[in-house]
């Protein structure tokens, strides 16, 4: 019996594979989901998500969101997700600096909340990606 892990973002279903155990960062702490887990709904924290299948571990960085465990299906609903292998630390650092500047500017000018929120989202996800990447090394 195996779990089925799917990660869904606004850009579509980005990940859908079977898995032996899924390690998820939640607001209540990190949890490890194994087959036969009790049905669960909880909040996902930005950070690193790991999926283990036959000894192979896949590392993904996820943004904040929700997770539902029902039956043997683990559905992660998040704003963004990326495979750690694909993360480019330099690009992230640049994006982070840009977002920080944008955020500071927007706050100083008192711009509309949409802009602030967008910058915050980028900032949050870049942090999560860096965290996940650095752990991997």
């Amino acid at each position: 019996m195996a779990l089925h892990l799917e990660i869904i973002t606004p850009e579509g279903k980005v990940y859908s594979e079977s898995s032996d155990s899924v390690f998820i960062p939640t607001t209540e702490g990190e949890i490890d989901v194994l087959p036969g887990h009790i049905p669960l709904v909880t909040l996902v924290e930005p950070g690193e998500l790991r999926s283990e299948r036959q000894g192979q571990v896949e590392h993904l960085a996820v943004d904040k969101g929700f997770v539902q465990v029902l039956g043997d299906k683990v559905s992660v609903l998040t704003e963004q997700a990326i495979n750690v292998e694909e993360i480019d630390l330099n690009a992230i650092e640049e994006a982070r600096v840009r977002a920080e500047n944008a955020l500071r500017e927007a706050r100083e000018k008192g711009e509309d909340p949409a802009v602030v929120e967008e910058a915050e989202t980028i900032l949050r996800f870049t942090m999560a990606q860096r965290l996940a990447k650095e752990r991997r090394r």
Partner: protein, 302 residues
């Protein structure tokens, strides 16, 4: 028999029209592709969000916890509906706007306030003198942040009890040839499961692995109420955003099809006219030969 030059002029003008509609068809086709993709790609997300919401609502009530409450879950006596009407900015997209307006016309006057996205809808509402709270526009790219102002406005009006429901009137995208105008209730959430079924049909984008009938008690962390607070606002926004994406996809598809039909019609008209032109030309030539022959014959006789 019509004048040769008249027919020729008509052929030319019909050909010109065909060229224009062909160009519009190509433009619509490329926009359609992108709009369809973004609508379809975001369906699983919207649907899973609704499913989680259903899980919280149903299971939390079941599992004898303190019970959950949220302003969006409480139905009220409906006196004034809040309706978000999503229409295209431009016409030339077949029966799409007319279908939407038919739905608007079914809602009695004075029982609803409207927020309109798209110029066509705004014009219709002011022409029929319905109460309009605000008008917005949406670019073809349809970004999530663009949908925020109208939603904020509706939610605020709902909180102040100026309106008792929030409903979206939009065109659901089925496929390139089929779009369906529909009214989707968003707030209050009375029967979410039915709503999801209605909006997404039987296509289940998330059910790749069978769910199984897992009726064990569900665990909510930290607790159902705070999960609900976190999820509700996002879910409402998302649901409305999805409608906007669907509306855009429908608009471009309908326009592409309408323009294709127009081009085809123009081309077949050109064919008919060309036939008519050739016939007339032949008749004219025959006539001329006859005249010459007659003239020769009479001059030889004398």
């Amino acid at each position: 028999m019509a004048n040769l030059r008249d027919i020729k002029r008509r052929i030319k003008s019909v050909k010109n029209t065909a060229q224009i509609t062909k160009a519009m068809q190509l433009v619509a086709a490329s926009k359609m592709k992108r709009a369809q993709n973004s609508a379809l790609e975001s369906r699983p997300y919207t649907q899973l969000m609704a499913e989680i919401l259903i899980a919280i609502e149903e299971r939390a009530a079941e599992s004898d916890q303190k019970g959950i409450s949220h302003p969006y879950l409480e139905g009220r006596e409906v006196q004034n509906r809040g309706i978000l009407l999503i229409t295209p900015d431009k016409g030339l997209c077949g029966p799409l706007t007319a279908n939407l307006f038919r739905l608007v016309a079914q809602i009695p006057h004075g029982e609803a306030s409207y927020v309109s996205i798209g110029r066509k809808g705004s014009q219709f509402l002011s022409r029929t003198q319905r109460s309009v709270l605000a008008e917005f526009s949406l670019s073809d790219r349809a970004r999530f942040s663009e949908i925020r102002p109208p939603v904020e406005l509706l939610l605020e009006a709902y909180a102040k009890r100026e309106i008792d429901t929030i409903e979206v009137l939009y065109t659901r995208f089925k496929n390139t040839l089929q779009q369906e105008a529909m009214r989707k209730p968003v707030v209050p959430i009375v029967n979410l499961a039915d709503m999801v079924r209605e909006v997404f049909g039987d296509e289940d984008y998330t059910a790749e692995a069978p769910l199984g009938d897992d009726r064990r008690e569900m665990l909510f962390e930290p607790d159902p109420q705070s999960l609900l607070n976190n999820l509700m606002d996002l879910a409402v926004r998302r649901s409305i955003y999805q409608s906007a994406l669907e509306a855009k996809a429908s608009e471009h598809s309908a326009r592409m099809v309408a323009m294709k039909t127009a081009t085809d019609n123009a081309n077949s008209l050109v064919e008919d006219l060309t036939l008519q032109y050739n016939k007339a030309r032949q008749a004219a030539i025959t006539q001329e030969i006859l005249e010459i022959a007659a003239a020769t014959a009479s001059s030889q006789e004398s």
